[in-house]
Amino acid sequence: GIQVEQSPPDLILQEGANSTLRCNFSDSVNNLQWFHQNPWGQLINLFYIPSGTKQNGRLSATTVATERYSLLYISSSQTTDSGVYFCAVPAYGGSQGNLIFGKGTKLSVKP
């Protein structure tokens, strides 16, 4: 099945710093999503981005489907950005509701 790898696994930043999170996937996909899981476990959908670039405030995401990777950019980080960031793609051959998640990047933003 499709494999999803995220890097780095852990990231510690000072407030105000910028960061780039990476998601590599092993097969062609028609759908890629980024999620943020806060320290209380809530998963929030950040972007649905099968290709191209999208921006939402201090966050932006780029997916290069032909090269099988996606990047999540966080600018001017804040302590509230802390948590785990996941990317997810549909499982090959599965129902579209079957998402394969990476292991995540744990981000800690220090004041």
Binding site: Q33, N45, P90, Q96, G97, N98, F101
Partner: protein
């Protein structure tokens, strides 16, 4: 509007027992998916239901079952609990059967002792 609601929020069970977890989707959403997240890992797909029919099943044993009701709420049942079933169980709803536009609930944290 209420988001996806899950109950209970926390649960402690003994090995061998049975557990039922509940999920109410966002109003108008007809699809519910269940995921298991063990500590330090990403969520893993268990089931998807759309219009009360099973649309997908992940690699989980038959001890796991689910159903969706006419009001689109859903239950996840786990029989003969094992220590390894301890995890955060997440429910997500979407308007259609597609895997985008997910809204997740806050989860049920199950501890098996």
């Amino acid at each position: 509007d209420a988001g996806v609601t899950q109950s209970p929020t926390h649960l402690i069970k003994t090995r061998g027992q049975h557990v039922t977890l509940r999920c109410s989707p966002i109003s108008g959403h007809k699809s519910v998916s269940w995921y298991q997240q063990v500590l330090g890992q990403g969520p893993q797909f268990i089931f998807q239901y759309y219009e009360k029919e099973e649309r997908g099943r992940g690699n989980f044993p038959d001890r796991f079952s689910a159903r969706q009701f006419p009001n689109y709420s859903s239950e996840l049942n786990v029989n003969a609990l094992l220590l390894g079933d301890s995890a955060l169980y997440l429910c997500a709803s979407t308007e259609g059967a597609g895997g985008y536009g997910y809204t997740f609930g806050s989860g049920t944290r199950l501890t098996v002792v």
